[in-house]
């Protein structure tokens, strides 16, 4: 009973700030010391929709996160396949290498690669931003996909091969169905991580390419609670749409095969 009330309390503490955030998006007047807004309305939402940067930021965020997810998976899947069964370096060194982006300060990596990206004319471009996001999302994706490869093992694929299956048959009927849940999780996480990046988008994009965090941060910093909350809700909606879409795309193929 005591444990359940602790869990209830924890959930209440999680929910409270979220409710306040939602209330700020629909409040037209909420002066101190009122506990709930004095007036409700769609004024803040209308104001946000009329901002010239709103739709570009939503679209840019979505496109960059989706492209980062594709690039991250295309890089992580073959790399994880090799690394899951490799014997040329110690497992500990490999883990350390994959996790280094979690350890090294983002601001140090972003600002020094920015100097290289300037030389290569990648600053202010989508390519530059997507590549810099991929650096930050790779450890998350590698962690999950490596784990999936290790769990699957090589047994099934080897059995199929010795029974005469062709490589694409093995991929289509064995590897992909077994890997799909892990890949869908990795894709969703990559999308979320890419969408919330501020520093790489700011420094590599050079302020030319607007995304949701780039608009949200100054509003939050200046205490523009209404607008900042409205952008936050849009942000969360874009996250949900992206994650569900990726799950459908990756999981869908998997289910299609089964039937």
């Amino acid at each position: 009973m005591k444990r359940t009330s602790t869990l209830l309390l924890a959930c209440f503490l999680v929910a409270l700030p979220l409710v306040v955030l939602l209330l700020w998006t629909v409040a037209t007047q909420w002066l101190y010391p009122a506990l709930v807004p004095q007036q409700f309305g769609g004024k803040v939402l209308g104001q946000m929709l009329q901002e010239p940067n709103f739709w570009p930021a939503v679209l840019n965020s979505f496109v960059i996160a989706l492209a980062t997810t594709v690039v991250t998976l295309l890089i992580a899947m073959p790399a994880a396949k090799v690394l899951a069964t490799q014997h040329f370096m110690s497992q500990r060194l490999l883990t350390f290498m994959i996790y280094l982006p979690f350890i090294l300060p983002a601001i140090a990596i972003v600002t020094s690669t920015q100097m290289l990206f300037i030389q290569w004319h990648l600053t202010g471009t989508f390519t530059g931003i997507i590549l810099s996001h991929t650096y930050f999302t790779l450890p998350y994706a590698m962690q999950i996909i490596l784990e999936s490869y290790r769990k699957m093992g090589q047994g099934y694929a080897l059995t199929a091969k010795s029974l005469g299956a062709k490589p694409w048959q093995i991929l289509r009927t064995i590897t992909w169905p077994l890997m799909a849940p892990g890949i869908a999780t990795a894709a969703g996480l990559t999308f979320i991580v890419s969408l919330s990046q501020y520093l790489p988008t700011f420094f590599i994009g050079g302020g030319k390419i607007m995304t949701l965090p780039l608009i949200l941060l100054p509003y939050a910093n200046n205490g523009r609670f209404g607008l900042a909350s409205a952008y936050s809700v849009v942000f969360l909606l874009v996250t949900m749409i992206g994650v569900l879409l990726l799950k459908q795309l990756i999981g869908g193929w998997h289910h299609g095969l089964r039937n």
Binding site: L21, S196, G223
Partner: protein, 290 residues
């Protein structure tokens, strides 16, 4: 290594190891004073001396260390506690257990905004205290945002990291519950032996990993202290950001020296924690005493 595995690994190495090495090379080069864009071509340790000798930079580093250590240790303790709670309750209350995990997916900027709306002097808690008569004036509410102690900043990290630690350790706790503890007790192990031989060896490696990830993130985090921090007490990443966004390029070598020093602190802390973890029960280098 075959040609095929090189081809498979190449892009990963390019975007992971090559980026790190290139960034490290640039950081060292510029922080040592080689920055031809503004005519600096002579290597010098002057910028490192500036950063390490200046009282303001020292304060910045010390303050960031304080925030990172407090937030990380509290998140680990409370997260582990919540993992025990989830272990016992998640079967009966799956909905609540899943709801508790939501903060993991929320971006730091949004959580910082939410803390602003709840903890600031005109925030929800202040309004609540006013309504029940505990406050007569708004400025009687203690400063929790832009304060010297960084309470607001710590709250953001706790909000996001307690569920993260709970979820990460829950899997291990489930294994423990599957009988290891009972088996040890049945075989006559004392509570101390059960802790030292069963619980600690299974839990400490994941706690060490979590400590490293959380410490390095909070120590150099930028968005949260920017929104909630006190201008008098800057954190290390905010200081670096302020230097690096100036039009004046002559401050860049100093900023890169600061970048290099914070990277070194993160690496040193990582190696320290990995070293300690390896020597504890369950670690690679642990020696049985008896």
């Amino acid at each position: 290594m075959t040609k095929k595995s090189l081809l498979f690994l190449g892009p990963f190495i390019l975007l992971n190891s090559a980026v790190i090495l290139a960034a490290l090379f640039k950081t060292i080069q510029v922080s040592l004073g080689y920055y031809p864009v503004i005519g600096l071509r002579h290597y010098t340790l002057a910028y490192f001396k500036t950063v390490l000798g200046d009282a303001a930079f020292q304060r910045t580093i010390g303050y960031s260390l304080y925030l990172a250590l407090v937030a990380t240790i509290l998140a680990l303790l409370l997260g582990l506690g919540m993992a025990f709670i989830l272990l016992k309750t998640s079967a009966n209350h799956p909905l609540l257990a899943n709801f508790f995990k939501i903060p993991i997916a929320l971006p730091h900027i949004i959580v910082a905004l939410m803390m602003l709306q709840v903890l600031s002097q005109s925030g929800l808690i202040s309004r609540l205290l006013y309504q029940v008569g505990l406050l007569q004036q708004i400025d009687q509410f203690p400063l929790l945002i832009h304060d010297k102690g960084g309470i607001g900043i710590i709250c953001v990290f706790l909000y996001k990291e307690i569920p993260y630690v709970a979820v990460s350790t829950l899997a291990i706790l489930k294994q423990l519950q599957l009988g290891y503890v009972q088996v040890a007790a049945n075989l006559g192990a004392t509570p101390r032996q059960i802790f030292g031989r069963v619980i600690l060896p299974m839990l400490q490696p994941i706690l060490a990993t979590l400590f490293i990830i959380l410490f390095c993130f909070t120590f150099t985090s930028f968005e949260v202290p920017l929104i909630l921090g006190s201008p008098a007490n800057e954190t290390i990443a905010v200081t670096a950001y302020n230097l690096l966004t100036q039009a004046d390029l002559t401050v860049r070598p100093t900023a890169f020296a600061l970048n290099f020093i914070m990277s070194l602190i993160c690496l040193a802390m990582t190696l320290l924690v990995l070293g300690i973890s390896a020597r504890l029960p369950g670690g690679r280098r642990h020696r049985e005493k008896d």
